[in-house]
């Protein structure tokens, strides 16, 4: 039986094997290469002024330059500090609030209007006010990042906690688990995939908020660098800054996905 089936399959070659295994990666890589190639071409062919668009070769040259002379590192360090602090504070505050909202109807009903309104509103608008309160130091930027990232964490945690299968909680109770055990042995692991997805979504917002905050309230950082590059018509440097941020976003995002898959492998049942 199985032999007959095999005969019907096309003969496998090394190339078709590689393709079958890495189809997604190959397609993605090809799309990126083609896009960069087109970009390079429109600039080189003189269709667009390099001042407006720079070009991949100029951007990569600039990237090499700023890494080689080390001038980029203080900016990266400064942005990373704000991003890291903001993300950490968002987690430490957001997860407990989300759990409380998911567990208690009263807390949910009373906090949801504020959470939803803040989530939907452009919190960047508060930046001038925050600077007024906290000055131009690190903390005004951290607060802006927290405002940008915390609500998506709260909302995801709340959804994870409130959508838990009631039967699992009942099972815990049937075995006489106390409230703390119900929280840590049942609710937390059940909500974990949602919470991690919230972290992943928050990372994108963290990066945006860091840049915006540094536009206005900084003398260092990638946002400051990009803003200055724009002001000086240094388009290649502007793109170099954007590339670094995009790279950080992609790496952090895949790292979070990997963590999700590693911590919550049972979720794999949904995909296969």
């Amino acid at each position: 039986m199985s032999q007959q089936v095999q005969v019907l399959e096309p003969p496998t070659t090394i190339l078709s094997e590689i393709w079958a295994r890495h189809q997604t990666a190959i397609t993605r890589l090809a799309a990126v290469v083609i896009a960069l190639g087109l970009w390079e071409w429109v600039v080189r062919a003189g269709k667009v002024n390099p001042l407006f668009l720079s070009s991949p070769s100029l951007v990569f040259e600039k990237l090499y330059e700023v890494f080689a002379d080390g001038s980029i590192w203080p900016h990266i360090a400064s942005s990373a500090e704000i991003a890291g602090l903001g993300f950490a504070i968002s987690i430490v505050l957001g997860v407990p609030v989300g759990i409380a909202m998911g567990r208690s109807r009263f807390i949910r009903d009373s906090t949801e209007p504020f959470v939803m309104a803040s989530y939907a509103s452009p919190t960047v608008a508060f930046l001038p006010l925050i600077i007024l309160w906290l000055g131009l130091g690190v903390w005004s930027k951290v607060v802006l990042v927290v405002l940008g990232a915390i609500f998506v964490i709260i909302i995801n945690t709340e959804v994870g906690v409130s959508s838990i299968d009631k039967k699992l909680i009942e099972t815990g109770r049937a075995f006489c688990a106390n409230e703390r055990e119900i929280l840590f042995k049942i609710i937390a692991p059940a909500a974990l995939p949602f919470i991690l997805a919230g972290f992943r979504l928050a990372i994108g917002r963290v990066l945006i908020m860091v840049v915006v905050a540094e536009f206005y309230a900084s003398t260092s950082g990638l946002g400051y660098l990009i803003f200055q590059a724009g002001a000086n018509y240094d388009t290649a440097l502007l793109f170099a800054g954007v590339f670094i941020l995009a790279g950080a976003g992609v790496i952090l995002n895949s790292a979070m996905r990997w963590v999700e898959g590693w911590i919550a492998p049972w979720q794999a049942k949904n995909s296969d």
Binding site: K167, L168, E170, T171, R173, A174, F175, C176, A177, N178, E181, K185, I186, P189, A190, L192, A264, P265, W266, A268, K269
Partner: protein
């Protein structure tokens, strides 16, 4: 001893739904220590509800539940439940699921002990090499057996089993019945066993409670007087005249009840 007197239960009124009917009405019985009792009855007649009431997961709307002389107000470690829908924790391996009850503060079991107990129970249920598997990697029947191992781990005096063999194929099912009786013969547990299978109920039970539906109530209690241990010459027992007579008697009861239910269904 489990004493149920005049238990009536209805679930809370959902908005928009018709006024809730009684799921159980005026149910009374007692189960002695060491007895094996089966609940047999059509789907929806309240068997699971009755089991949850005995466990203390839900409290009845009316009536009394007393176990070992104490009024039941909630779950207690003396009772373990094997759930109809397994209710395994998906983030725990089979072994970790089987350990769950022992991990809780109320049981105060050392790690080494609970690992040993979980492993023993899994291997008694034929899952020795599946300890590391997660629920989504197990078949329905395997999941049910993990649920049994979990319930056994806390060495409960009362074992409440809700269709524990429902997901097994008929042949494995008969084997598991024998294994269950052997497993339970070592210690004098009291078993309440829910099933849809008349043969299974007769083979396993000391007494069978036959339930009727709408409202859920006990139609009859059938004491089963067959030689023990039943796993010796089980095929002879199943073909014996008394066994067949029990089957006829119970089927007649259930057939009348089901036909009555069909007429009311529309």
């Amino acid at each position: 001893m489990i004493e149920i007197s005049n238990v009536t239960h209805r679930f809370g009124n959902k908005r928009g739904a018709a006024a809730p009917a009684n799921v159980l009405e005026n149910v009374s019985f007692t189960i002695a220590d060491g007895e094996f009792v089966s609940f047999l009855g059509p789907s929806g007649c309240g068997k699971t509800t009755m089991l949850r009431i005995i466990d203390g997961i839900i409290l009845p709307s009316m009536g009394n539940v007393t176990i070992d002389g104490t009024h039941v107000r909630g779950p207690a470690p003396s009772r373990s439940m094997v759930f109809q829908e397994f209710n395994l924790l998906p983030w725990r391996s089979a072994e970790k699921n089987a350990e769950f009850g022992l991990e809780l503060e109320i049981q105060k079991t050392k790690r080494a002990d609970r690992e040993r107990i979980a492993e023993e129970n899994l291997s008694k249920l034929g899952l020795k090499s599946f300890g590391g598997y997660f629920p989504h990697q197990l078949s329905g029947g395997m999941k049910q057996r993990v649920g049994i191992a979990r319930a056994l781990s806390t060495a409960p005096k009362y074992l409440l089993m809700d269709e524990p063999f429902g997901a097994l194929d008929p042949m494995i099912r008969e084997l598991m019945q024998i294994e269950l009786l052997k497993l339970l013969s070592a210690d004098n547990r009291t078993i309440v066993f829910v099933t849809h299978s008349i043969d299974e109920a007769i083979f396993l039970s000391d007494r069978i409670f036959v339930f009727g539906a709408r409202p859920g109530r006990i139609l009859d209690i059938v004491p089963v007087d067959l030689p023990k241990p039943r796993w010796v010459d089980d095929e002879k027992i199943k073909a014996s005249a008394p066994f067949v007579a029990y089957r006829q008697r119970i089927w007649r009861l259930m057939k009348d009840e089901l036909q009555r239910g069909m007429q009311h269904a529309d």
